[in-house]
């Protein structure tokens, strides 16, 4: 085409202009950049450090005598987090149904919070004991809109690493059961809010509250007919958890030929003779209970595969890369040609040349077929 410059030459010119126009912007005290917040990696590191150092906040806990409910609440200038467990005492057969409520109490009419899989995460700790559930969570950047004064509820969800040692934690069957039941003992159920305002790297808010309950043998304590809560009664308005299809997933298959996904760093290989430790149904259940990031429609395929991702790993201080996924056995849950994708913004996009249409996408959720852990979901334009 006449007049069209070579893109490499054009890039050389434009990158020089852009570099000249930007430049390093030192912080006032040199310790933190004030322009647009620090990068995502630093935020993630900070989250780990701060969470590790967080004690349970002194909360306006209502200590109720049996049969409950148990309520704890904590707040800062923008948010209130309330954790409600319907009873204070259960038997090992009882379903325990904690609910975390998040209320925006800041100055604006509405606020959009940015968070991981769910805006509130749960963990369980045995009081005076070693057993626990919880731990790492994927760090996507989902968003949820809140109306001031109107709480949203986040139902309890299990997350963590199964163990075969019952003295240390819970086994795979326990994690696969969507209903929360606990063995005898005294347990602390903890809900934590960890969100940002103004974007994924925006102003961070972290709150934690805990309910202590007892699980005893014998006759279950009666459920109170009219719960009396000192905290505001949650009024569900919107759920931050997408509704996933409850229909049966497609029959599981195995990847027969090596293929690279739309993200060219990710390659699926035939699994050979590798045997998964969890079933495809168990993997798909992570979609149903909201642990895995899945599209709100039945998947196209569920395949057993080995996966390598050449852009997912850690780099040592010496610059040596270690891949996290290197021929790792996974269940790959795929959606092909979906219109349900939620593409990110991500900077300057191409100039629109036609009325916007809903783009089709492909998405693949990876679940570790050995441990049952959700790894991540990647999505890209339909191939």
């Amino acid at each position: 085409m006449i007049g069209r410059r070579d893109p490499v030459d054009e890039w050389r010119d434009l990158s020089a202009r852009a570099a000249q126009a930007t430049g390093y912007r030192p912080a006032k005290d040199g310790s933190e950049r004030s322009s647009r917040g620090v990068g995502f990696g630093v935020v993630a590191a900070a989250i780990v450090v701060v969470l590790a150092g967080l004690a349970l906040r002194p909360a306006a806990t209502v200590t109720s005598s049996n049969p409950g409910p148990v309520v704890a609440s904590a707040a800062d200038a923008e948010f209130r987090l309330t954790l409600t467990t319907p009873k204070g005492t259960y038997t090992p057969q009882d379903a325990i149904e904690p609910v975390a409520s998040i209320t925006y109490v800041g100055p604006d009419q509405t606020a959009t919070i940015f968070h991981a899989t769910k805006p509130a995460q749960f963990r369980i700790e045995e009081v005076d004991g070693p057993r626990a559930m919880g731990g790492g969570t994927a760090q996507p950047c989902l968003s949820t809109a809140l109306v001031r004064g109107t709480p949203i509820d986040v139902a309890f969800g299990k997350g963590g690493s199964p163990t075969d040692d019952p003295s240390r934690g819970f086994d795979l069957a326990w994690y696969e059961d969507p209903v929360l039941r606990l063995p005898q003992g005294t347990w602390r159920i903890v809900a934590s809010l960890d969100v940002t305002l103004g974007g994924c790297s925006g102003e961070r808010h972290a709150l934690e509250v805990g309910n202590v309950i007892r699980v005893v043998s014998g006759v279950p304590a009666p459920t109170p007919s009219v719960p009396t809560l000192s905290a505001p009664q949650p009024t569900p308005l919107a759920t931050p958890t997408p509704t996933y299809p409850v229909s049966s997933p497609p029959a599981a298959t195995v990847v027969k030929t090596t293929r690279t996904l739309g993200d060219p760093h990710i390659t699926l290989y035939p699994p050979g003779n590798a045997v998964p430790s969890i079933s495809s149904d168990a993997a798909y259940k992570l979609c149903l209970n909201g642990v895995a990031g899945c599209l709100p429609q039945p998947p196209t395929a569920i395949e057993l595969a080995l996966v390598t991702d050449t852009a997912f790993g850690t780099t040592s201080s010496a610059g040596v890369d270690t891949l996290t996924l290197k021929k790792t056995l996974v269940w790959a849950i795929s959606w092909i040609g979906s219109s349900q994708c939620s593409f990110a913004g991500g900077g300057v996009g191409p100039r629109p040349t036609a009325p916007p249409v809903q783009p089709l996408c492909d998405a693949v959720a990876l679940v570790n077929a050995r441990t049952g852990d959700f790894i991540y979901t990647v999505q890209y334009a339909h191939q």
């Binding site: 990068g39 630093v42 300057v348």
Partner: protein, 162 residues
């Protein structure tokens, strides 16, 4: 008579002045996004600032900055790419004029078909005059892999311009 060694603050200041352009360009080649490139480069320099007391300033800081920038970009890509997400478009870096941004929008579309490695292999040799060995060192791959990536990238660009 030898000049006294500069203080860590002075050494950092000099690095920020002299090395911003190659680090920013490297980040831009990796991310293909002006906002992300600015964030990645800023973050790399911020980490250098935090380590200014312990770093060996007798060695060139560029290699350290590039490896750090690559690590930041990789972490950032993966974290943003994985899982379903919604986020607002980040603001553009201050100081960029509208013409530059508009031209980059068009250029970005042409370069999006290239992988970060292919873009970096082509663009950094042209824009910064780096050798395959230097680019490979920054990317953590061999010079041969850089050569191959550049070849693949050029083929894609040629194909795209037809």
């Amino acid at each position: 008579m030898t000049a006294p060694n500069p203080s860590p603050d002075d050494a950092f200041q000099r690095a920020a002045e002299e090395l911003w352009t190659p680090v920013f360009r490297f980040a831009l080649a990796l991310t293909n996004d002006l906002s992300d490139a600015d964030d990645v480069a800023q973050e790399a320099f911020l980490r250098l600032w935090r380590r200014r007391e312990s770093i060996d300033w007798s060695r060139p800081a560029l290699g350290w900055l590039l490896i750090t920038a690559r690590r930041i970009a990789m972490d950032r890509f993966r974290r943003l790419a994985r899982d379903l997400r919604l986020r607002a478009a980040p603001p553009l870096p201050a100081g960029l004029d509208a013409t530059t941004v508009e031209r980059f929008v068009d250029l970005r579309v042409q370069l999006v078909a290239l992988t970060p490695t292919e873009r970096t292999a082509i663009l950094m040799s042209t824009a910064q005059g780096w050798s395959n060995e230097e680019i490979g060192s920054a990317l953590g791959i061999s010079a041969g892999a850089v050569r191959a990536a550049a070849s693949r990238g050029r083929a894609k660009l040629t194909e795209g311009s037809r």
